[in-house]
């Protein structure tokens, strides 16, 4: 019995030694989880593909960015694949939300045994630092039914948050790669400028600067501000970018499946009147369903936002029962064809919503 076991052990060892090199080779060139970046550069792993996208803009050819969860899967669930832990093991920088969304990350970090990227070390970046969180529970317990005690963690859904995310990532980059600090800061500022221009359009950014516009938006005074006249025309005619594209649904009421869209709806003035399933995984009560249907009818709501990773059969039933149209939006980039980075993602969302409106 023991002889058999030890023989098997030896075979196991040999098999691994032989194929180990092959496996490593495979992981390096795995197409799905990188954008053909510099494999010799700084090794960065992010929790979500959106953070990877932002990081790529900042590191450019100096880094190799991989991510664990894309829009394709449930962000709360990560399949136990060996490559994930290997990625983390070799990482110089780990970028995560920093709230309680990526519950799986502690397990992965444990398995990876990479001192550099543990919470508190220089290789750990929590991108939510400094971001004004929405939907913070008033009571510090769970009785209000809030899943996330610290506030809504889906911060990447609001484009203005990308700027702070980029700043946090850059701080991390500066710590682990001080030699290129200047480069990173430069790229970060470029990225921030890109975001502003994508958001408000070139004209307004050129006149007022991105920061001013962002502050106005944050204080909810942007729209009133744009009613002002400038050189004979109302400012609002100069509005471009996503803010302009989103105007058709500004002030519109919708229903959402879960609370994924807080920052998006807050930014673009979409009003989420209710949630179909406020607590993920827990089917709603009869009373809640009735109230939701009444809400949809009384407010003439005709659109329901759902992240594309949810199963489709229940939303289909909701569509026919409540007379509403479901808009499936990938939560992160990298899942849908043509949605490769965060800018594509925002384009896609706004376009999809506008399409469903008509």
């Amino acid at each position: 019995m023991n002889r058999i076991l030890s023989k098997l052990q030896i075979i196991f060892l040999i098999l691994f030694l032989i194929t180990n090199a092959q496996a490593q080779h495979r992981h390096r060139y795995r197409g799905e989880h990188n954008w053909g970046q510099n494999k010799r550069g700084l090794r960065i792993v992010t929790s979500f593909s959106d953070f990877a996208s932002i990081t790529k803009y900042i590191v450019q050819e100096k880094g190799y960015v991989q991510f664990i969860s894309s829009g394709q899967g449930d962000p709360h669930f990560v399949p136990p694949k060996p490559s994930y832990a290997m990625m983390m093991r070799n990482a110089d920088l780990w970028i995560t939300t920093g709230l309680d969304l990526e519950v799986w990350s502690t397990t992965l970090l444990d398995k990876a045994r990479n001192r550099k990227i543990m919470d508190g070390e220089i290789g750990f970046v929590a991108v939510s630092d400094g971001i004004a969180l929405l939907q913070k529970p008033v009571k510090a317990d769970r009785t209000e039914g809030d899943i996330h005690l610290m506030g809504n963690p889906h911060i990447h859904t609001g484009p203005m948050n990308w700027k702070q995310i980029a700043k946090n990532i850059t701080i991390g980059l500066q710590k682990v790669d001080p030699g290129n600090a200047g480069f990173y800061v430069q790229q970060r500022d470029k990225f921030i400028d890109m975001v502003d221009r994508a958001m408000f359009g070139d004209e307004l950014v050129n006149i007022f600067g991105g920061e001013t516009l962002e502050n106005l938006l944050h204080n909810k005074t942007l729209m009133t501000f744009l009613e002002k006249e400038y050189q004979g025309e109302k400012l609002v005619t100069k509005l471009g970018g996503w803010m302009k594209d989103a105007m058709p649904f500004r002030g519109k009421k919708v229903v959402a499946y879960h609370k994924n869209w807080a920052y998006f709806s807050d930014t673009f003035g979409l009003e989420v009147a209710g949630y179909v399933e406020p607590k993920p995984g827990i089917p709603p009560s009869a009373k809640h369903v009735m109230n939701t249907i009444n809400l949809i009818k009384s407010q003439n709501i005709d659109m329901m936002l759902i992240a594309s990773y949810f199963e489709k059969s229940t939303p289909q039933m909701i569509e026919s029962r409540a007379g509403i149209k479901a808009v499936y939006l990938p939560l992160c980039c990298g899942a849908e064809k043509g949605v490769n980075d965060v800018f594509d993602l925002m384009d896609f969302w706004i376009k999809s919503i506008n399409e469903k409106l008509n």
């Binding site: 196991f12 691994f16 194929t19 496996a23 694949k81 060996p82 832990a85 799986w104 444990d110 827990i282």
Partner: protein, 286 residues
């Protein structure tokens, strides 16, 4: 080299699991309670949920105790309601306990706490992420339970083989049934934590199914279960590494493949055998 170090804990966990599940699997098959582990895992999870509501840390000993209490209650119910004729098989009781435990947990979470996710994550592990501390803890528990079962094997084995006979022999059936379910429940609690429910389920029924095709004696079956489990774990983990697929499911798929191959070879063997038993029943050896 890296891969080997990497896969060592999962491999050790597999071996540990095979050790105890190879044995319990035979019981499970004989009693016809195939889905007991899924039910027990959920009942233990109900305990964790309870703890969660009272804000007890899922990793603490209090949570463990609460899960244990729930498992105890379940063991009591199962041993009390075990029927002798299949009017309402024990599997039905198990099934209903499973459904009620799961849904009760959801209602509890809904009414008293936040979402389900964190609770689920705390108790369902994956063989890939397993920690040495958990493996060692489980190993110790399994060794103790294994010893108990070995020492009292003249109580446990007849109970699963032939319930009526055991009563006639004067075995205190309810007591030993209760201990059986309790020990099985504790094993499941640990196993689910280190391997996840899929591996637990598969290790419980597939090795013993394979060995059932060849023998009816306990020791050969346990042994062959161990050997099969070890081989399959090696290959399964290796394949999961090579093709970068989830480790637990890879092992399970390979285990299933092994079963299929065994069945095919056996039926080829049977058709070649003109004399002797043509049907599959193995004559009981004493």
């Amino acid at each position: 080299m890296e891969g080997l170090i990497f896969m060592l804990p999962p491999f050790a966990a597999c071996l540990t699991l095979i050790g105890i599940h190879g044995y319990f699997g035979i019981h499970v098959l004989k009693r016809g309670i195939i889905f007991i582990d899924i039910a027990m895992a959920q009942i233990a999870a109900l305990g964790v949920t309870f703890a969660f509501i009272f804000k007890i840390d899922p990793e603490s000993s209090w949570t463990y105790l609460l899960s244990l209490i729930f498992v105890l209650i379940a063991a009591y119910i199962f041993s009390t309601l075990r029927c002798k004729n299949p009017k309402i098989c024990i599997e039905a009781i198990i099934g209903i306990s499973y459904a009620v435990a799961t849904t009760a947990a959801v209602i509890l979470i809904d009414k008293a706490a936040g979402s389900d996710e964190h609770v689920k994550d705390m108790i369902i592990g994956s063989i890939l992420w397993v920690k040495w501390a958990d493996i060692i803890k489980s190993f110790v528990v399994y060794a103790i339970i294994g010893f108990i079962h070995y020492y009292f094997r003249d109580k446990f084995i007849p109970l699963s083989e032939n319930y009526e006979q055991a009563i006639q022999k004067g075995v205190k059936v309810r007591l030993w049934d209760f201990i059986f379910y309790l020990t099985l429940g504790i094993v499941v609690m640990h196993s689910v934590r280190i391997g996840g429910i899929l591996i637990v389920f598969s290790f419980l029924i597939i090795p013993s199914s394979i060995s059932a095709l060849f023998s009816n004696k306990w020791f050969p079956r346990i042994l062959s279960g161990w050997i099969i489990g070890t081989i399959v774990s090696i290959i399964g983990l290796y394949l999961s590494w090579k093709f970068d697929v989830p480790s637990g499911p890879a092992v399970v798929l390979f285990l299933g493949l092994f079963l299929v191959i065994t069945v095919i070879f056996r039926s080829i063997g049977k058709t070649k055998n003109i004399e002797g038993s043509v049907d599959g029943n193995i004559v009981t050896e004493s």
